[in-house]
Symmetry: C2
Subunit: 253 residues, 2 copies
């Protein structure tokens, strides 16, 4: 039987340690193809490159794995991979492991999740993996058995079109288990750090703290990760707020 | 009574004709503040700038309107505007008018919509406006009365936290009316145009055609705009696919 084809990308770039762990785990399950950005692309949201051409360059940093670095965004990587690199439609696409959590509202800003969303739009089931540690020396070891379980489960029970998974791991060696969650309502309390450059002109550094708007609810991804569970949120790219359609019809008709 | 404060941004940049039309219309309704990108930022998705500082520069291109051009993405513009520019919380934020449609899956890639989403996350009700014409000489005149109606309606009936509006106009002088819709399921059929540079190295231009995956349904934004209606889709940034939570609990527990 043919091994499953697994496409991998990320947003931290092709040299990121989190990507290497994901490649190692996926090699245990199937045939792996990597198309990842040639430089970090964090917080790129679902950007795509429309005014510049894209480059693809073969990379040999993963033994026995076909890999390419791409000059574009994570979403560009997936588009190019599916159109120009993959010999057949992948059985699954996985993204990450991201250095830093993509739970709650982070899903909107995340390049890691945008790669997974792009695959899902193109009809390839997908999963984004992230660890709650921004460090380049983050320890991804404890994520491995969970990643293996989740990917195997989804290969055996493919998701229908329109849904993907957003998986976030706590930064602990004692992960209590998997928890199916919803996206927590949260927002960043921004405060821009205002400084003057040597020519005495102002510039601003964005800083911010994530505020959980529903800290008392234990069914959210933010609660799960804060309490040492790995969270799985079924995620969609149909942004329609169906509950408001009738309300708006009354307002406008 | 104090006039409503209206924050405006876009993704085509501060000099875009579509922004000027929106500014003119909003001046009829309230006090206007503009913070828009200093260069085009189309297809930026929900990118934010985390590795560079941001610049704000006062602009005088709109008579009687406080305006700034910002070096960042549309989402950056809104974050900076709310934290550093606006003297009080705006009553509404409007984005656009975008040169090109942001219906269906375009909402995921759109910088115009990311600005509106950012405002909504920060608790300011918001609307993204787009016209189904990519040209820099697009004719926005026929959108004006509808924009006026929609903004006044929302000022009198504010949306609760978590929902914003995605409005798309057809490119016609005979707009049939407003239609409340859901986001159409559609995807781009990409085909990368592969070329060789003067050094004989390959590069790729992204091209693609939007494919409506449900052309027979008349309740979608794509159908509405194709049939000369202005579409209004209630849009949310909670991406949880609630219908799959039970299914996943069965798979993983």
């Amino acid at each position: 039987m043919q091994k499953p084809l697994i496409l991998i990308s990320n947003d931290d770039g092709i040299t990121a340690p989190g990507l290497r762990v994901l490649v190692e785990e996926m090699k245990l399950i199937g045939e792996v193809i990597v198309v990842a950005p040639d430089k970090p692309q964090s917080a790129m949201g679902h950007a795509i490159t429309v005014t510049l051409p894209l480059r693809l360059k073969e990379s040999f940093i993963f033994e026995g794995v076909k890999a390419y670095e791409c000059s574009g965004t994570p979403a560009d990587c997936v588009k190019l991979a599916l159109d120009k690199v993959c010999p057949r439609t992948p059985n699954i696409m996985v993204s990450g492991i991201n250095h830093g959590p993509n739970y709650s509202i982070n899903v909107i800003y995340s390049g890691t999740m945008s790669a997974a969303v792009e695959a899902a739009i193109d009809g390839v089931q997908s999963i984004g993996f992230s660890l709650n540690d921004y460090g380049s020396n983050a320890n991804f070891e404890y994520c491995r058995p969970f990643i293996n379980q989740i990917v195997n489960t989804m290969l055996n029970n493919p998701l229908p079109y329109g849904t993907l998974l957003n998986v976030n791991f706590p930064n602990t060696e004692n992960i209590k288990g998997l928890k199916i969650c919803r996206q927590a309502s949260a927002k960043y309390a921004e405060s821009f750090d205002e400084r003057n450059d040597p020519n005495d002109r102002k510039y601003y550094w964005m800083t911010g703290v994530l505020i959980n708007l529903e800290p008392d609810h234990n069914d959210t991804d933010l609660w799960a990760v804060d309490n040492d569970y790995a969270s799985i949120v079924p995620t969609k790219f149909d942004l329609t707020s169906n509950g408001f359609i009738q309300h708006l019809k009354h307002l406008f008709v």
